[in-house]
């Protein structure tokens, strides 16, 4: 298919963990079904025979190469299979993305705190307080450049750490950031929610609930837990981060940051020297599963036959919080968490559809491999779509920001735009079969729709409503 198994260098087309795919049964069944429908049974039996014996082969290279010759009649079915599989999993991404946006929009609409601009972060020194549009524009651009530099720095730092195999550092960072997110930010969220609804609360109950919530979150994200709970926690923390962005970035800066991040995403993933591309290729060369920190997956990844499940080992689908360098002074925990989100946002913003045997990875995962490579061969990966939490966050920022102006037309337009962008990205994924950035298309559509709806559709709809004309 599209795997370049012959050359030993890892390129963007090399599938990750080629030789370690143990299962292919579901795909084969589906392929068989399709084949039966097409009444080319005898052909397929012949080719399945050869695919089967090859699968027992020792390395990914051979899996990639040999099926090409005898399995020709099976290829179109496997292609179709991939696309169907991919499509099915795309739909599975719609739900979490929608949920995340819902949480953000609901919070923005009901809790005033997140729409009020009182304090700003140290990363955005220009506060857009002047009445002139041009000043605001350069303020916004300057702010977004600063943020971009911070992100780029974090990403490079991460690459350095990964290349030097400082897994412990990365892991520690991860844990620190998720601690901050799960405890501090949730605490602030609960506090604001209670204030908004005027509900009295005592310290004892609060402490107890927060303790339970936070510890469960840590367990389920970094260790093992039910998949749904894990997904729910990830959606929640993505929503929390999005809310932080919406609250602490000045108005125009938010939009500028969205645009700049999309471009960065494009550059970092697709250019040959892009940091994220380097990350993926390093992981491929080492033949390690890229530890899915900060990734949302629609199915489960788990480690079979691992003697002692390393904490947060490839078992769980997503880890959380990366980074977390030092907690530089400044506002409370926002700096550290902010920075962590920065970095987290930078790397795991890709889409990935895994399927086997023709296994293509179209997603860049932040590479954290906390356990030694010998465990890698035991990894059995379920096929599923993976989307970075950073993607969730920025999608939600866009929709949340749109909803903070109070107009539902705009909010819905942005929501639809993002989903369309997601579909297109996944389509491209199925076609191109390599790591792709998930942000650019969606954010571009989102921004276009936002500004178009705000300037064109809204006045139109208002005029229609005023005149009671229904179309």
């Amino acid at each position: 298919m599209s795997e370049s198994g012959s050359d030993l260098d890892a390129t963007e087309h090399t599938a990750l963990m080629d030789g370690h795919i143990a299962e292919a049964r579901p795909d084969r069944e589906l392929a068989e079904r399709i084949a039966r429908k097409r009444k080319t049974k005898s052909d397929n039996q012949r080719s399945y025979g050869s695919v089967e014996q090859i699968e027992g082969g020792p390395s990914g290279a051979s899996i990639a190469q040999q099926p090409r010759v005898p399995a020709a009649p099976v290829e179109p079915q496997i292609e179709e299979l991939e696309l169907k599989y991919g499509a099915r999993h795309v739909i599975k991404l719609f739900v979490p993305v929608t949920l995340c946006m819902l949480v953000v929009v609901a919070t923005i609409s009901s809790i005033n705190f997140y729409s009020v601009k009182d304090v700003y972060l140290a990363y955005t020194p220009f506060h857009e307080e002047s009445p002139y549009a041009s000043t605001k524009v350069w303020n916004a651009l300057a702010n977004s450049m600063i943020l971009l530099c911070v992100i780029a720095l974090m990403t490079v730092l991460l690459i350095v750490l990964y290349k030097k195999k400082c897994y412990k550092t990365i892991h520690g960072w991860l844990i620190l950031s998720s601690l901050i997110l799960l405890f501090l930010f949730s605490y602030l969220y609960i506090e604001e929610a209670l204030i908004a609804y005027n509900i009295p609360m005592d310290y004892i109950t609060l402490g107890f609930v927060l303790w339970n919530f936070g510890v469960m979150g840590m367990i389920v994200i970094h260790w093992k837990g039910p998949l749904r709970l894990q997904q729910a926690y990830l959606i929640f923390i993505a929503a929390l981060m999005a809310l932080v962005f919406i609250k602490y970035l000045p108005e125009w800066t938010t939009w500028a940051v969205l645009a700049v991040i999309s471009i960065w995403d494009l550059v970092a993933v697709l250019t040959p020297k892009g940091p994220l591309r380097i990350l993926v290729e390093t992981a491929q060369e080492r033949n390690e599963p890229i530890f899915p920190a900060l990734i949302y997956s629609s199915t489960v990844m788990y480690c079979m036959a691992a003697a002692s499940p390393a904490p947060g080992a490839a078992g769980t689908v997503e880890g959380e919080g990366r980074d977390g360098t030092e907690a530089g002074g400044g506002e409370a925990g926002f700096d550290a968490a902010w920075r962590e989100r920065r970095d987290e946002g930078a790397a795991p913003r890709r889409l990935r559809v895994d399927s086997a045997p023709p296994r293509y990875v179209t997603r860049l995962d932040p590479p954290h491999a906390p356990h030694a490579p010998p465990h890698a061969p035991d990894l059995d990966e379920e096929k599923g779509v993976k989307l970075g939490l950073g993607d969730f966050i920025f999608y939600s920022v866009l929709v949340g920001k749109a909803s903070s102006y109070g107009d539902w037309n705009t909010t819905l337009a942005c929501f639809v735009a993002i989903l369309i962008g997601l579909c297109l990205t996944l389509l491209l994924l199925a076609i191109l079969k390599k790591a792709l950035p998930a942000l650019p298309i969606s954010i571009t559509f989102g921004l276009i729709f936002y500004f178009a709806t705000r300037s064109v559709v809204k006045p139109f709809a208002d005029a229609l409503a005023a005149e009671q004309v229904f179309i």
Binding site: E191, L194, I195, N198, I199, P200, M201, D202, Y203, I204, T205, L206, F208, W211, N212, F213, V215, M216, I219, V220, K224, G225, P226, L227, L229, Q230, T299, V300, Y302, M304, G315, T316, D380, E382
Partner: protein
């Protein structure tokens, strides 16, 4: 984490670990333990480790229930008596509602 893919002894390990962790004032962990392993403990056909898993699930369920009762009682007591407790009530309060007592 897909339980169906795990070997039985690992399931037992997991159930036990969740139970142990839940002993740290974490009834939520116990509750999750119950929900997650319920099917394995009661509905699946018998296998070796099932007896122990059943034991842990039942213990977790009892523990979670007890904690739930304690929590609900405390919340009720607090909410109804917060005003009458005066200074103590305020000291205990994290959020004091505005515009009413």
């Amino acid at each position: 984490m897909d339980l169906s893919k795990l070997p039985n002894d690992m399931k037992l390990q997991l159930c036990k670990s969740y139970f142990k962790v839940g002993c740290l004032f974490l009834p939520f962990v116990w509750a999750v333990n119950v929900c997650w392993f319920f099917r394995d403990a009661f509905i699946k056909p018998a296998y070796d480790e099932q007896k122990l898993i059943k034991k842990f699930v039942i213990m977790s369920a009892i523990g979670a229930f007890v904690w739930a009762v304690i929590l609900v009682t405390w919340i009720t007591v607090y909410q109804t008596n917060r005003v009458s407790w005066g200074a103590t009530g305020d000291a205990l309060s994290f959020i004091v509602p505005l515009g009413r007592a």
